[in-house]
Amino acid sequence: MSETIQVTINGVSTVVEKSKSVLEVLHTNELDLPSVCYHPSLGAIETCDTCMVEVNGEIVRGCSTSLSKGDNINTTASHVKEAQDIAMNRILYNHELYCTVCDYNNGTCEIHNTVKQMKKDHQAIPFDAKPEQVDNSNAFYRYDPDQCILCGRCVEACQDVQVTETLTIDWERERPRVIWDNDVPINESSCVSCGHCSTVCPCNAMMEKGMEGEAGFLTGMPDGTLRPMIELTKNVETGYNSILAISDMESAMRENRIKKTKTVCTYCGVGCSFDVWTKGRDILKVEPQAEAPANGISTCIKGKFGWDYVNSDERLTKPLIREGDSFREAEWDEAVKLIASKFSSIKETHGPDALSFISSSKCTNEESYLMQKLGRSVIGTNNIDNCSRYCQTPATKGLFRTVGYGGDSGSITDIEMSELVIVIGSNTSESHPVLSTRVKRSNKLHGQKLIVSDLRKHEMAERSDLFIRPSSGTDLVWLSAVTKYIIDEGWADEAFLKGRVNGLDDYIESLETFTLQYAEEVTGIAQVELIKIATMIHHSNSTVALWAMGVTQHSGGSDTSTAISNLLLVTGNYGKPGTGAYPLRGHNNVQGASDFGSMPNMMPGYEEVTDEKVREKYEKAWGSPLPKEIGLNNHEMVKSIHDGNLKCMYLKGEDMGIVDSNLNYVHDAFEKLDFFVVQDLFLTKTAEFADVVLPASPSLEKEGTFTNTERRIQRLYQALDELGDSKPDWKIIMMIANELGADWNYSHPRDIMAEAVQLADLFAGVSYDRLEGYDSQQWPVTADGKDSPLLFQEDFPFPDGKARLFPIDWTEPIQFDDEYDLHVNNGRLLEHFHEGNMTYKNEGIKAKTPESFIEVSPELADERGITDGTLVRLSSPYGAIKLKCLVTDRVQGKEIYVPLNDSGEGAINLLTSSYADKDTDTPVYKEVKAKMEILKDKGSSPLPKINHRYGNPQPQIGVQVERKWARKDYLFPGDMVKKEANRFGKSH
């Protein structure tokens, strides 16, 4: 319980929480206090002055004033009201009230609502237009200086929540306004279009373009009529009351045709949830909610604005059946019958293990569950896998070895509160944008330390307190050396090791070789740097480690993940708030796809298929015998096709023909399949090889649940009807199963979840009722519904409850012939996703980032005569790609970087090999070398000048309201009414 104190509010003695501001106290006690600039997720900004309140005889800002015992608060005195009124007049001087014809008139406009709350009928200072044009340059939102009240919420969000540091208010110009970078148009600035500013704007100044002319009944009228209409509304006004009443009516009418649906983002694994506003099939905007558990008010460009793919003309709307050298549209009935008969005949001729199933990290938990049930129970094979094989399985492996659960140890809030964050092989601000903002914020404002280990100097590296660039694939070595150094120095957490960890002695022995000197030789990191890392960990009361593909997609990916976990165990960084291991999951439901059993060796809830008891449980529930042997993973499936054993594949929501490694080899395999079914939104590269293509519906068109990187299960609701004849994946799988005689009867994803949680103990208490709206549950969930935001607080899920230190060795990365002299790093870009199927449907994103490219270091550019736009061919022993170059110091020496978002001649996986992590078969995407050949010397830059990477951020803390207060024309409303009161007193 927080400390309480006694204060007097308007003469009434009241007990309040000491930590709260006057404004919060009044709001909790349901007392009115205007507060235009205040936003609960941003805190006190102090720009609007409308929350004037008297405390102990002094007029102060309620938002930023804390309380002491016995304080006397007055909100009703006439001079208090007068001070509030002065502040509100200043706002209305900056904002024209034409609510009924304003797209923001949706019940949430702070200005409208405050005018109403204050019963304000007239304004003392008339509105005066600012001498500036609307900035329409950005594709996603626009800024209207004329409507801007200079509350600074957008600046606060940009500087200190998103921490892109683009927005400021130029307080010194005659009429202040929000500016981008050093006052350039929005589109030429460092703005990453994350949408925070338009989300927090209290009015229509910063507004999503999807809303423009769409939200209101009268807002769509041509400009020539709109302006006279605004003038008319203003001229006839007899006072705001009647105007506001009409606009309230209009706003209520809007509710009838604008649908607001809670959904969960379908891009990365952070698991942002928000309301999506739709009108018919049009998506007006995405509106984040403070109550969203993973992201609050935060989004990135993709979650906020990247939904065009849903209404793309290229969406498949009917099943397609291969006929000769083209596909023919068909009806569902025909397609499903064909699939069932092919599956049956292949099973009959070659046995169930000639068939294979691939689930999608884009699909829901329920759909992953049904896919593996189809494979195991209806067909009788464990040949089922999902795309986490391409990214995160090694991390899961490392955690299973050491701590027993294959998921993030805690929540994003733990990362936020930690004293030290170590980021290894993760371009967090581009791959997990919203999660990275929490680190950037804590680092900027709260003294959190940040260590980054990466080849590339990305944004996190730029912001870090310590940045190391070890040779590719050597993270395990420095991690182990640092761990050894910590133990040798006596800095290990002895009590934790003694009470909660097994295997210390063997582990210490295994560290023998990892001396600082050895580590320096292998990694290229100076010993002093390594000591610095060890010291920083030692001095921090809590440390978290975040890692991603830079660790996992190596020959020793599972081992490096294990090394990270070992380090955390040795330093006692598990089971306490602000500690733990965070393998950042790359897709919205990559966690859930594995959780719900789409793995060749595990049933839902990570129970082994080889465990007879487990199989019995499922056999009883499903009423069919289950296969005993571990099935094939993705990687093995491809090989098995080449070997002639695997004949048939049913794949949903995964463009394996682009995202798997060594594409030429994969494509050859697809061609060899007897029967290939692909289920997707689009005719993807993979689907081009299919015999039957089934049109699926994306997240906005269905219900279900996703599980994010925090193990958090969240519900999505249906915002739109299915497009054409497309169907949600769960319905399609059920049709196929039933055609094969399964007799499944799920009428809603809720039924599927109910079945799954009865069987998988890990999710025992998960239920749709407990997941209503923005409620969520983090597994493990016990039968009574209690979930686990932070793991390992009591014990580790091993028989004796203790974690295990797991000895590991370093595996040298794959070697290439000398002619392949360039190391090809590859990964994500903020604005695109995966193979680009979804984000390249977005014109706004395409304008900013139209094509993939190769990042080349200034040194290499010099040596080879490369400039921005030089077209080159990269060749590895496995294939070649053709892309334009971009010279940047994000990369150094002979290391180059290729974004993975191209599905044509630049598809990175034409270069990658079929080598894989020795423990999990995850391809070694990051171990690629190539040679470069210049095809065309000069060309236009692949990255247009309007890309945010050319921007010029202006870091500062908050909106710097002091500069407003320092203006000659600024008077504190409290002082004005005091003067007034004094003058009044004297003359009478």
Binding site: P228, E231, T238, S326
Partner: protein, 161 residues
Amino acid sequence: MAKAIKSIKKIELSEEERRAQDLKEIEDALIDNKEALLETLEVVGHMKDRGVISVLNGMFGEGDRVLKVLVDLLSTKENTMAIKNLLLLVGALGRINVKELEPLMERLNNGIENVSEHEEVHHKTGYLDLIKALKDPEINRSLSILLLFLKGMGSEKDQGM
């Protein structure tokens, strides 16, 4: 050997099939909304009789132009004033205490009746007539009421509502 292919032969509905499909959809909608539709048709019939339909047709047909003309018209000074007055009057009406006004209105009506009965009055009223008239109880009562009204109207009152 299934090579990658991209071309799709769409199901091309013939004109007839498409028409049949559309008709089916319409038919379903008609049946689903039978009651509402029949009643609506009745309303539409009345509207046709009164000529409302053709007026609406013209208005909606030229929506933006009509709206522009309307807004321009309303924006003229007199009309803006009229709307403003109207809004003010609506506000004023809300403040009149009709209950207390009622007995007064009765009297006012009597007065009007009396005047209309003697519409063709031509004789002039002199001082003496006035003084004499004060003795008439009806006139005296009227004057007392008027004096009270004038007193009330002149007194300074708070603007409170």
